[in-house]
């Protein structure tokens, strides 16, 4: 007996006892629930969140458990740049403009601003009025100067990094010599007097922007979280260090704690003044929002389906889990498979393959049915024929190239006779197709394209690049030419739902840069660029929309892009959540700002 109590056996007995006890307890739980708490209750129904509010409720309290496989570069709303962080950070940061909280909604309304900007001077001057009564979480009243500071610090300071650069590019374009002094300006060091004539906040309730060039979509720029006010006095003391660690809330929630790369906790912000929010853009229904970060995507799906987590911040379920969800009526009733305004596409390098006949041959040679199968089948999206998805206001869907190997061979022969230098010594058009390392669906799609092209005599190799460095390979003109990168597969979604958001970086000259272009086709077409300028000079939405559709047609005529699918994203929301809806306020996913728990 004495021997059995020696150290090692004792621990082994304890471990065994724990395992046995837990096994018994949990097997009992398992048999009663059929797979976890989330699976125990029937959800509101499959694929309904884009069209109706699910589990509508005004109940407050409870803990909402969110989860993500991603981590944040920063919790400073001004320097983040992803749909998921924008969706989440809108819970504690209040931008000037925002998307309405309706199922499927994509219209912008005033958030901190009373409404859309008042435009004058042919789209060069934009005036916004602040809702009265808004405060920071410390009770300090918000003024237009705080909005101005938020924009300045995130665009002209040492903080620059991962945030968007629209304000910088629109207000002080680097191509305009009048703004040379802004290239190296750091408002923390140099102050912001230089902006007095650009962003006028002499009236604390109004902010007036003076643009050097017309920009008809400025209201959309004002939806960026860089317009969420920042207390200048506190932030400028230490060049943003303190603020970046714990941003001061202007929304209905505030940050309770943040552990970088691990966890973010939000609690209701008692200082939030609902009177200052006539459009009801912010509400704190949960008593605690616990966001787990950096969880492996397989583990994340497991936790979602087991009911340990209520929703992801916006990512899709892994394709491997689609069947599991769709074959289980309970899980399926908690799932949505909705379009998310993005496309899967492949560029065709117009510099490497300048002959349009060759590019059109590629368009005709790609069998999009096989590609769609690799991108999740009909669950993963519908076949795309052009660039602008239907969710973009004014977008028109039109037929372009359908799979036709015969036509592809004819065009290829014509190209060979006109541009023989594009073909290798064996007489074949040869190049590489790029996909991202961590995107198996796109890799498989690249292989399907490779197979399609081989059918018409085009020789290709599939090559992979890391996600974070993708644009440094596919977007590098010299590298692309030297390594014969003919096609690059990627997903693309707009920063805001207009033709500009979708097309500016993808197919115009603005998307070509030395350090990493987003315009992987390197398309620099005068007609496209002029049409874009025409659209931006206009403040009339219908004129803008017509111009974007014309660009869509022109790009397809030039065969610079092979649209593959209009992507659907399969997302899971636990039946525990209330007020569930998918809309643009949720960056195309679940609108986190209005969610509650039962």
């Amino acid at each position: 007996m004495k021997k059995e109590t020696a150290v090692i056996p004792k621990i082994s007995i304890r471990a065994g006892a724990i395992a046995a006890a837990l096994a018994l307890a949990l097997s009992a739980c398992g048999s009663s629930s059929g797979g976890g708490s989330g699976a125990s209750a029937m959800g509101p129904g499959y694929n309904l969140a884009s069209s109706q509010v699910l589990n509508a409720s005004v109940k407050a309290g409870g803990t909402m458990n969110l989860i993500s496989s991603q981590t944040f570069d920063s919790i400073d709303p001004g320097i983040t740049y992803s749909a998921q962080t924008w969706n989440l950070f809108r819970m504690f940061a209040r931008p000037m403009m925002a998307y309405e909280h309706t199922p499927g909604g994509n219209q912008i309304v005033g958030d901190l601003a009373t409404g859309p900007g008042k435009e004058s001077d042919n789209g060069k001057t934009w005036t916004y009025t602040l809702d009265p009564g808004a405060t920071f979480e410390d009770g300090t009243a918000i003024t237009s100067s705080d909005v101005r500071w938020a924009i300045e610090r995130s665009n002209w300071s040492s903080l620059v990094g991962n945030g968007p650069t629209y304000f910088r590019n629109i207000l002080t374009p680097s191509s305009d010599p009048r703004f040379a002094q802004f290239a190296n300006l750091d408002v923390y060091k140099d102050g912001d007097k230089a902006f007095d004539k650009i962003i006028d906040t002499s009236d604390p309730t109004k902010i007036v922007f003076h643009l050097p060039n017309s920009f008809g979509e400025f209201d959309y720029v004002m939806t960026l979280l860089q317009t969420a006010p920042v207390e200048r006095g506190i932030d400028s003391k230490d060049a943003g260090d303190t603020y970046a660690k714990k941003p001061i809330s202007t929304g209905a929630y505030k940050i309770q704690s943040y552990s970088p790369g691990k966890e973010l906790k939000l609690v209701p912000n008692p200082a939030y003044n609902q009177q200052s929010d006539p459009n009801h853009m912010h509400v704190a229904r949960a008593a605690l929002v616990d966001v787990q970060l950096g969880v492996d995507s397989g583990e994340r799906d497991q936790e979602l389906l087991d009911g340990q987590a209520d929703a992801d911040l916006g990512s899709a379920l892994n394709v491997a889990d689609h069947a599991k969800v769709l074959q289980d009526n309970v899980l399926k009733s908690e799932t949505d498979d909705a379009p998310d305004s993005s496309i899967a596409y492949s560029s065709i390098n117009t510099q490497l393959i300048p002959d349009v006949d060759c590019r059109q041959a590629i368009e005709y040679a790609v069998n999009k049915n096989t590609v769609q199968n690799q991108l999740g089948g009909s669950w993963g999206g519908s076949i795309a024929t052009n660039l602008l998805p239907p969710s973009i206001p004014g977008a028109v869907q039109f037929p372009t190239y359908t799979y036709d190997p015969g036509k592809a061979k004819t065009l290829l022969a014509k190209c060979k006779s006109d541009s023989p230098q594009l073909f290798d010594s064996s007489g074949a058009l040869s190049f590489k197709i790029a996909a991202q390392v961590n995107a198996p669906d796109l890799q498989n799609a690249a292989t399907a394209i490779q197979s399609s092209l081989a059918g018409v005599g085009i020789n290709t190799q599939v090559t992979l690049f890391p996600f974070g460095q993708y644009s440094q390979y596919c977007g590098n003109q010299d590298y692309s030419r030297a390594h014969k990168l003919g096609m690059c597969l990627a997903n693309w979604g707009p920063d805001w739902l207009t033709g500009y958001g979708m097309l500016d970086q993808l197919v115009t000259a603005n998307g070509i840069s030395a350090t990493g272009s987003q315009n992987y086709a390197f398309l620099n077409d005068k007609t496209v660029n002029d049409l874009e300028q025409d659209a931006l000079n206009s403040v009339e939405p219908s004129t803008q929309q017509q111009d974007w559709v014309k660009i869509d047609h022109r790009v397809m005529d030039l065969a610079a892009i092979v649209p593959l699918t209009q992507r659907n994203v399969m997302r899971f929301r636990s039946s525990n959540l209330t007020n569930v809806m998918i809309n643009q306020a949720g960056s195309g996913g679940y609108d986190l700002s209005v969610l509650g728990v039962k």
Binding site: A23, S31, Y188, Q469, T515
Partner: protein, 332 residues
């Protein structure tokens, strides 16, 4: 003893310097030889289409605007004396020992490591106890009953265990055993030891299976050698009880088992990458992997250095323990 300690300390410092140098070369220099430019590295920390001025700001913030030898020297100096951080880093100063400042998480690498250390220690120590106890016991049993049914069963079990890597067992266990074990997550041991153990059983078992197999084989072969030794035969001839004979045989395997155990534990404390990823636990391995994915080089460098420290300490402990476990070893 003092000479031994001093000698080992000096060796440890030199080893750690080597670890830092090699890691620095691998992550900072080798990609450059492959054609990656400083601008390309900095662009990964910028948004779409950064201007040259923005890239310059980022390069200054990350210290990439300095020559490589200056970057290396600055790193070493910060380890000893701390360093002031450039604007935009998220803080003004990184105190000694400064293992670096994360480019992505804007936090001290040491703070990030210490924040995750309890998770990794919990996984490693729990699994180590399991594999050590069961591995040594089953190895001893197999040796004692050599050639019998028990030996054969244990040998087959060990063979299967060796053949099953964590990447196989982990996802399988997570997918199929969640009904049997509680959900895996980390709760502080100090908060509630039972809850802590509850939620780590699965990673412990997953990790321990492979090691258990190794320790079984190690103990079995060591004991078989010992039990066929002259001293055992002499002991048996002199009438020593079988229980004590077996104990003496087992004792001879201790130095070897201790050496391997210390190294294995040291390695695991540097990050049980696979187990942490499979079960979504935020330990040091998870931090390192995210660092590599995100090109967060200070995190990679800091974690490598920290993991190296464990190995060096483990080596040191083993050397010292040898003196106790094996009387033939003398320190001076």
């Amino acid at each position: 003893m003092t000479t031994f300690l001093v000698r080992r300390a000096v060796t440890a410092v030199l080893l750690m310097f080597g670890v830092v140098l090699v890691t620095f070369l691998v992550f900072y220099v080798v990609p450059g030889l492959g054609g990656r430019t400083t601008d390309q590295l900095a662009a990964q920390f910028a948004s779409r289409d950064p201007s040259p001025e923005q890239l310059a700001v980022i390069e200054h913030r990350l210290g990439l605007d300095q020559p490589l030898y200056v970057q290396f020297w600055d790193y070493l100096r910060a380890l000893v004396a701390g360093t002031d951080l450039p604007p935009g880093s998220g803080a003004a100063h990184c105190s000694a020992p400064c293992l670096g400042w994360s480019w992505r998480l804007h936090e001290s690498v040491l703070a990030l490591i210490l924040d995750r250390l309890p998770v990794t220690v919990s996984i490693a120590v729990g699994a180590a106890v399991l594999w050590l106890v069961f591995g040594v016991l089953s190895g001893a049993l197999a040796a004692v009953f050599r050639g019998g049914l028990v030996d054969r069963v244990i040998r087959v079990a060990a063979l299967v265990g060796v053949c099953l890597p964590v990447v196989f067992i982990g996802p399988l266990a997570r997918a199929k055993l969640t009904w049997l074990f509680p959900s895996v997550s980390y709760y502080s041991f100090l908060h509630n030891p039972f809850v802590w153990a509850d939620h780590l059983v699965l990673p412990w078992v997953t990790l321990a299976i492979g090691y258990f197999a190794l320790y079984t084989r190690l103990t079995r072969s060591g004991m078989i050698d010992a039990l066929s030794g002259h001293f055992i035969r002499t002991a048996q001839a002199k009438g020593l009880p079988r229980r004590r004979v077996v104990w003496q045989g087992l004792r001879t395997t201790f130095p070897t088992v201790a050496t391997v155990f210390a190294m294995d534990l040291g390695l695991l404390l540097g990050g049980a990458v696979l187990a942490e990823k499979v079960y979504g636990l935020h330990g040091i391995g998870d931090l390192a992997q995210n660092g590599v994915d995100g090109q967060d080089l200070p995190v990679v460098l800091g974690v490598t250095l920290f993991a190296g420290l464990f190995i060096v300490v483990a080596n040191f402990v083993v050397d010292a323990a040898y003196a106790v476990l094996d009387p033939r070893i003398r320190l001076d």
